[in-house]
């Protein structure tokens, strides 16, 4: 294994995935905001709601194409860059991706064309249905992708088959109803709703500050404030659910997030501050809030949260058992009927992946000495300081959004659209939900290391047989292409925002010029 190939393959995956996820959250949330706005148009029959819907739909479109374009890369990248991964878990992991295409992406992509081109070709109700199908498709798409990702974090319902040298599905229901996947799905789509709400609110705030397109801006502000409040509450509460799912399923990730080097007596304290060190294996200057972690993670006063050192000790035991499984698989390769090897394999197969960790240090895991086992066991600890800080930044942003939307909702219900300090804040914080969403993915994926599939397949064994030169070629190519497209996208977005909505076709329906102070009750029109 050339570690440079592994690191570059990871870099490319991280770059293309994080870039893809710049566009996805807005699609997830804005599609539902469009449904809300268009429903208001269909119900009230006021042209201004048509104008509102079409304006945001235009911005939706500019964002949407890049999500689609960069999504193709994601679908193919497992094969191009992670060929051994594709072989090793394709029997399970391929299914949600295929179902995503069949059930979700077809829906989204077919109806999105009609959404843009069908305004004059069908009834209002039919068009609303089309918009709803786009929202449904994009959100179902997220569901299947997160079922796939959830399985990487918690590979339920699969067993290793020595005859085919890969994981195979044993219980498809366990793959579908994976608790990690469920928690991740609701958390991720809620994050998308928050992103879209911040975006719509921020752009509307800019219009309100400039005194432009006030009827559109006030309505958009109100819709986004309400939707954003609900979503930000949901993202925090369901994010907690996601953390709770770690308690049983990814103990090491939870311990790393908390930089909890040793198991503490229950209920464990929550480290509000600290400087964790991977080298010293302890957290300096730690400030602990008693009880909180134990309460969040176990939802009890007696449940114990296991510390890193204890989990490493458990990993050593699993490595020992994994070596037996590995030895049995080597025997079964040439002597498939060997009953002793079969029995040894059956007993230890759950830990086979832990023996594979040793391949980083020795060619044949069966020849590993105690030092190699120790190194392999400690390699199961992800980057603790990164986990610690990334989590706190993400969660902090989550709480900020709740406060922000609570204020926005308050102003919207009181028709106070002229609070300039708040409008300025709303404009300035537009980038924050994207930062939070990217941090969330970094947390999820760094926290899974060193595994590609938790406990099953180490990342360093999962890559394709590529050269460093090939990888640099594609990394440079993607960077250039994606970088250019990002600049073009942002410029077109800004141009479209500056240009504003199309004029309202029917006369007499827009409300009049806004009174001084910049706000007027919506009911006035």
């Amino acid at each position: 294994m050339d570690m440079a190939v592994i690191e570059l393959s990871r870099l490319q995956f991280a770059l293309t995935a994080l870039y893809h996820f710049l566009f996805v959250p807005l699609t997830l949330g804005l599609s539902f905001l469009l449904v809300i706005m268009e429903s208001l148009y269909v119900m009230t029959n006021r042209p201004v709601w048509r104008q509102v819907t079409r304006f945001w739909a235009k911005l939706f479109g500019i964002n949407f194409v890049l999500g689609v374009a960069t999504g193709i890369t994601m679908e193919f990248q497992f094969g191009t860059n992670w060929a051994y991964y594709s072989h090793y878990v394709g029997d399970i992991f391929g299914a949600p991706l295929a179902i995503e295409g069949l059930m979700a992406f077809f829906l989204e992509a077919t109806f999105v064309g009609l959404m843009f081109f069908g305004w004059d070709k069908m009834s209002k109700q039919a068009h609303l249905f089309v918009t709803f199908m786009v929202a449904l498709g994009s959100n179902l798409s997220a569901l299947w992708i997160l079922i796939a990702n959830g399985w990487m974090q918690h590979p339920a319902g699969a067993v290793f088959n020595p005859e085919t040298m890969r994981m195979e599905v044993a219980d498809f229901g366990a793959v579908l109803f994976n608790p990690v996947a469920q928690a991740k799905f609701v958390h991720t789509v809620s994050a998308g709703y928050v992103t879209a709400s911040v975006f719509v609110l921020g752009v509307s705030a800019w219009f309100l500050l400039k005194g432009k397109w006030m009827p559109l801006a006030r309505r958009s502000f109100t819709v986004a404030a309400a939707f954003g409040l609900a979503s930000s509450l949901s993202v925090v509460v369901l994010g907690d659910e996601s953390g709770y799912a770690l308690t049983d399923n990814q103990k090491m990730k939870l311990a790393a997030i908390e930089a909890m080097w040793h198991t503490e007596p229950a209920p464990a304290g929550f480290a509000a501050f600290g400087i964790p060190s991977n080298v010293d294996r302890e957290t300096h200057y730690e400030v602990k809030v008693p009880y909180v972690l134990g309460l969040i993670a176990t939802r009890s006063l007696t449940g114990e949260v296991t510390g890193i050192t204890e989990l490493v000790d458990q990993a050593k035991v699993k490595i020992g058992s994994g070596i037996i499984a590995y030895d049995a698989v080597e025997t079964l390769k040439t002597d498939a009927g060997n009953p002793a090897a079969r029995a040894a394999f059956e007993e230890n197969k759950a830990n086979l992946g832990y023996a594979l960790l040793l391949k980083r240090f020795v060619a044949d895991p069966r020849k590993a000495d105690a030092a190699a086992v120790d190194k392999a066991a400690w390699s199961t600890v992800p980057n603790v300081p990164a986990m610690f800080w990334v989590f706190r930044a993400m969660a902090g942003l989550g709480f900020f959004f709740v406060a922000f939307f609570a204020a926005a909702f308050y102003f919207a219900t009181r028709r106070q659209f002229g609070r300039r300090w708040f409008l300025r804040i709303a404009l300035l914080i537009i980038p924050l939900p994207w930062i939070a969403a990217e941090l969330g993915w970094i947390l999820a994926e760094i926290g899974r290391q060193p595994w590609a599939i938790e406990g099953v397949l180490p990342t360093f064994l999962a890559a394709s047989d590529l050269s460093v030169a090939q990888l640099w070629t594609t990394i440079a190519g993607f960077t250039l292409l994606y970088g250019t497209l990002a600049i073009v996208e942002v410029r077109l977005m800004l141009e479209s925002i500056r240009k504003g909505p199309e004029p309202i076709a029917e006369p007499g329906d827009a409300d009049g010029p806004a009174p001084a102070g910049g706000y007027a009750p919506i009911a006035a029109e």
Binding site: I62, V65, V68, A69, T70, G71, I72, T73, E75, F76, F78, G79, T80, A83, Y84, S86, H87, D91, I92, G94, A95, L97, A98, I99, E100, G101, L102, M103, F105, F106, L107, A109, T110, F111, G113, L114, F116, F117, G118, W119, D120, K121, M122, M133, N161, T164, M165, R166, V169, D465, L466, Q470, T473, G477, L481, L485, V488, L492, E495, S496
Partner: protein, 382 residues
């Protein structure tokens, strides 16, 4: 759980479904690719270009999902094939991806600004987005027929010999050009149905005629090379259609003429190449008689026939290895597990008909020719 269909049957079904998905992609998104490869040549001036772009704009996105689904379904049902082909053709895949990334952006962004240079730049990006995938997909199919340079070790870990340039040989170039001619013809067939009577339609017909002739010639050349050069493989071990998916359980050899053996054993398979040759002829006739639906029917038949003939020639091989024939992937050794194939079949049986229903509805809503008047006045047009 008891699976009501045996492993062999499911493998054959999934082999056929892989064909259905690839043909679905070529039949639908194929004309988008072809129309974009034709864009700079059939349309002069901004209005004509926009007419061509808007003839595909409302439906291309759904069409492209056939490719995404094809990728996902091959991952789910044929993980070995997914792993070997995508990583083995690494830089070629990157070329295709880059071209395919330009396409959606080109459609959406091109007409958002007025500058001539801006629009001309995106027109060429759209051309690349149509032409390059059409060519590289064909070259890739050519390489599938000649075999790819890969082998497995006993952990079933893959290794390759050879890089991007090794993919381009006389035969694979002929395959690539067959694909370009076939998809350009299909693009011309689509434009025959979708643009108003005028200069764009007339040029599309002219290019269609050239493409029809080229498709027949390149396809015939490819077929001749299958017959007269030493191409083809043969399984030497006893096939085990019910056995576990492990490529190392099969032995195979390089065998000249191996790709024509199926036509002797199963004469009904001739239907595929016959359709492949008849399709372009029908399209040519359609153009001569100004029968536009016939042009599209002919180009569709060509697409179905040519792609199906690749599968028919190779069965049960899916992807042979040119450096270690014993590593070759076949229908009997490269699939997912029995249970996964069955579950995925159920999912497909439920959802594919639904997809076909709403896709047909989308095409019905957008039925009709794009006119200059509409290009000038419709605010939703790109």
């Amino acid at each position: 759980m008891d699976i009501p269909l045996d492993y062999e049957t499911l493998r054959v079904i999934w082999w056929a479904l892989m064909g259905v998905l690839l043909i679905g992609f070529a039949l639908t998104d194929g004309f988008d690719l072809g129309a974009m490869a034709l864009l700079p040549w059939v349309a002069r001036g901004d209005e004509e270009r926009r007419m061509v772009i808007n003839s595909v704009a409302p439906t291309w996105e759904g069409n492209q999902v056939w490719l995404i689904l094809g990728g996902g379904a091959i991952f789910a049902a044929w993980p070995f094939v997914y792993a070997v082909s995508f990583s083995g053709f690494y830089l070629a895949m990157f070329l295709v991806l880059s071209a395919l990334i330009l396409r959606p952006v080109g459609f959406k962004y091109r007409s958002k600004r007025g500058g001539a240079a801006w629009r001309a730049g995106w027109d060429w990006a759209l051309f690349v987005g149509g032409f390059v995938p059409a060519l590289v997909f064909g070259v890739a199919v050519g390489n599938v027929l000649t075999g790819a340079p890969f082998r497995f070790d006993t952990d079933l870990r893959l290794s390759y010999e050879g890089g991007l340039l090794g993919l381009f040989t006389p035969f694979t170039l002929v395959a690539g050009l067959t694909s370009v001619a076939m998809l350009v013809l299909h693009g011309a067939g689509w434009l025959s149905l979708k643009v108003e009577d005028g200069p764009v339609l007339a040029r599309a017909q002219r290019f269609g005629k050239v493409a029809a002739v080229a498709a027949i010639l390149f396809y015939a050349a490819g077929f001749a090379m299958l017959a007269f050069t030493d191409m083809g493989y043969r399984i030497t071990s006893v096939p085990d259609p019910l056995g576990p998916s492990n490529p190392l359980r099969t032995t195979a050899v390089h065998a000249a003429g191996g790709w024509l053996a199926n036509y002797a054993t199963y004469p009904w398979m001739w239907a595929a190449p016959v359709l492949g040759f008849a399709g372009p002829l029908i399209a040519w006739l359609g153009i001569s008689r100004r029968n536009h639906p016939l042009v599209f029917a002919g180009s569709s038949a060509a697409t179905v026939g040519i792609i199906a003939s690749v599968g028919a020639s190779m069965f049960p091989f899916i992807l042979p290895s040119s450096i270690d024939a014993n590593s070759s992937l076949t229908v009997w050794n490269a699939s997912s597990s029995h249970l996964t194939l069955f579950i995925m079949l159920l999912v497909t049986l439920v959802f594919l008909p639904i997809v076909l229903i709403y896709t047909s509805w989308a095409f019905k809503v957008m039925f009709g020719r794009v006119t200059t008047a509409e290009v000038r006045s419709n605010p939703d047009f790109y």
